[in-house]
């Protein structure tokens, strides 16, 4: 196991290195400089700034400098704000995004799995049709529509929760629900399909033939097997939600990383773009690793193939 993990982590580092290099050169293709929007700078001021940040060095030199700093864990300084470290910017804006994303994924998958299981077991009854209806809504209606509806009815009309901002637990409820609808719908559909298939398999018939009850069959025998393929779709979903939904952050006025990222691209804030990209990439490869490990936890056949012994 330790050997397997070390190997995987080495691959992850290589992947991140490649992504960092690729993004760096891509970024240099974007026309303009971080200061192109600052009209008030004179030609000389501009060249002083460019010189200060080493932006007139040949690209390979800039690249080497950046990578050296990166190795030291230094992501550089933002161009947008005076002398604020990229790491600080990311940490500050990642907090709300990660919290929101994690809440949405937990809430969404938990209820999605339950909805899917119930729909599968009550196939072609009103329970199933209701669950299908919820899933179709969750998948087809964009999250900002839910956000708007929730804000209007639950926050403004009923006054149960605050309309916007990010100042405490009660502020998290509505954006979480709005963001959770998609993972809820996705999980419930996948779980339903898998459950129906698993429920028809021989080992479920054998479990019935042993005298197992309805509940034991569904939750002790079927669910674990039905979850194996579901993990695959959940992985990427987790990443997209962890990094927050830009729209939801905007609607609820949440100071998250999505907003930060878009702003940095607009103003060519190279260090922040790089830092955020690396963060997203890092999260992504980490989730892939976690998904693989999770497979092993759920499916004993993979545990061995992963080289446990």
């Amino acid at each position: 196991m330790a050997k397997y993990l070390t190997q995987r982590i080495i691959y992850m580092v290589v992947t991140l290195f490649l992504i960092a290099s690729f993004t760096f050169f891509l970024m240099k293709i974007i026309p303009g400089t971080p200061f192109s929007n600052a009209d008030k700078l004179s030609e000389t001021q501009l060249s002083i700034m460019i010189d200060k940040y080493g932006l007139d060095d040949p690209v390979p030199v800039q690249y080497a400098n950046y990578m050296m700093n990166l190795l030291k864990g230094d992501l550089g300084v933002s161009f947008q704000f005076n002398n604020v470290g990229v790491t600080d910017i990311i940490i500050k804006s990642l907090g709300p995004s990660a919290t929101l994303g994690a809440l949405a994924i937990l809430f969404g998958t938990f209820f999605g799995i339950i909805l899917g299981v119930v729909a599968a077991l009550k196939q072609n009854t009103w329970v199933d049709y209701t669950s299908t209806f919820i899933a179709v809504l969750g998948k087809s209606i964009p999250s900002f529509v839910f956000a708007g509806l929730l804000q209007y009815y639950v926050a403004v009309k009923l006054g149960w929760f605050p309309v916007a901002f990010w100042r405490g637990p009660e502020y998290m409820v509505l954006p979480t629900i709005a963001l959770a609808m998609f993972p809820l719908a996705t999980a419930s559909r996948f779980v339903r399909t898998e459950m129906i298939e698993v429920m028809e398999s021989d080992y479920i018939t054998l479990a019935k033939a042993k005298g197992a009850s309805w509940f034991e069959i569904a939750f002790k025998h079927a669910l674990r097997n039905a979850l194996i393929p579901v993990i695959t779709v959940l992985g990427p979903l987790v990443v997209s939600l962890m990094t927050g939904s830009l729209v939801i952050e905007k609607i609820f006025g949440i100071p998250g990383i999505g907003e930060q990222f878009v702003k940095s691209i607009q103003v060519n804030d190279y260090p922040v773009i790089m830092g955020t990209t690396l963060l997203f990439a890092g999260l992504f490869v980490a989730v892939i690793l976690i998904v693989d490990l999770l497979y092993g936890v759920i499916d004993p056949r993979i545990r061995l193939a992963g080289g446990k012994k």
């Binding site: 196939q123 072609n124 398999s201 021989d202 080992y203 018939t205 054998l206 479990a207 019935k208 033939a209 042993k210 005298g211 197992a212 009850s213 002790k220 025998h221 674990r224 097997n225 194996i228 759920i298 499916d299 004993p300 056949r301 061995l304």
Partner: protein, 347 residues
């Protein structure tokens, strides 16, 4: 001998998009204590449906027991509540399936899968159940049961898995064991081992077995009696000797003629011509008539009753009607009869 199970006039239908499939159309048979009853017949004849009905394992969504009784221990299983049925499954009646590769839960340890029915039905503690499970594993011929107990199905070969399935089925000493083609998916040497094991265990725990198979060779090896199914009915039933050496139904003749024998390897293997009946629109007369070289006019119009051949031997064919012309069975069947008589005289 004592009857342990009695199936009377069982009718089962499936409701499908194209209509009602009358899969079982009046099945009658008994199972005696300690005996092995083989059910043979081609694919789709209703063997699995009949036996699944005994345990009420047919899909609830589209199957229906339209009529009939399944008498077991003074109860009619066809009408038992789901709760009562759960108590009975795995305890009084157990089942072994065809494919050992798919009949164990891949994400559950073998030990846990064996313990489940023991804890459930015999109310033993976890540790007592584990002791019992290890005993059973040993009994079905699995070496290192303590180690195996902690392993997952994928760490077992096909033959080993079928032994585990047998262990699960026999964990609570059931009165009836239903084996639906338990050796079809295994290779020949393993097949023989599993059959030996089943015969051995049957003696030890004194259970009755219903053994479904395509393979008449296996029947001769394991069964006391044989029921031949065709088109959702039992068309002939009798002791092994009666079915092999004095068969009456033309379908049984066909089955026996299509059995490979030691000296038939050069010849083309005989196959019954035609296709099975359409159970969506079952024929008015004898379902086998269109494929029956000996069919008479009445075969197309009226279903034959069960004629008694001996106390243990019945067959549903108009050929047994007193007015029917005498016909000779095909040569392959007659050859067997001759061999059998010679063997008997030799003894």
């Amino acid at each position: 001998m004592e009857k342990i199970l009695e199936v009377k006039d069982l009718h089962i239908s499936f409701h499908t998009f194209s209509g009602e499939v009358q899969a079982i159309r009046g099945v009658n048979f008994d199972l005696l204590k300690g005996e092995t009853l083989a059910i043979v017949g081609e694919s789709g004849s209703g063997k699995s449906v009949t036996t699944k009905a005994l345990m009420r394992l047919l899909p609830e969504s589209n199957s229906e027991i339209k009529a009939g009784e399944i008498l077991f221990d003074g109860k009619d299983l066809a009408k038992l509540s789901d709760k009562a049925m759960q108590k009975l499954r795995g305890k009084e009646i157990s089942m072994i399936f065809q494919d050992p590769m798919t009949s164990l839960n891949p994400t559950m340890k073998i030990g846990k899968q064996i313990i489940e029915p023991i804890v459930k039905h015999q109310k033993l503690s976890k540790s007592a159940a584990k002791k019992r499970a290890i005993e059973i594993l040993e009994l079905v011929g699995i070496a290192n049961p303590e180690v195996r107990f902690e392993q997952y199905p994928h760490q077992f070969s096909g033959g080993m898995r079928q032994r585990v399935v047998i262990a699960i089925a026999l964990a609570c000493n059931p009165k009836v064991l239903i084996a639906d083609e338990p050796t079809t998916a295994l290779d020949v040497t393993i097949q023989a081992q599993i059959l030996e094991l089943m015969k051995d265990l049957q003696k030890k725990i004194d259970t009755s077995i219903i053994f479904i198979t395509h393979d008449l060779g296996v029947v001769a090896n394991v069964a006391d009696r044989v029921a031949v199914m065709y088109g959702g009915k039992i068309v002939e039933i009798g002791t092994v000797d009666e079915i092999f050496y004095n068969p009456q139904h033309p379908y049984t003749w066909g089955l026996i003629s299509s059995m490979p024998t030691l000296d038939s390897d050069d010849e083309e293997l005989y196959a019954i011509p035609g296709t099975p009946p359409d159970l969506l629109h079952p024929p008015k007369g004898d379902a086998f008539a269109p494929r029956n070289a000996y069919a008479m006019k009445i075969d197309l119009e009226k279903q034959p009753p069960m004629y008694k051949v001996s106390d243990t031997h019945y067959a549903a064919t108009w050929l047994l009607h007193p007015d029917a012309p005498k016909v000779e069975p095909p040569p392959a069947v007659k050859r067997r009869q001759r061999e059998f008589l010679e063997m008997k005289e030799g003894n």
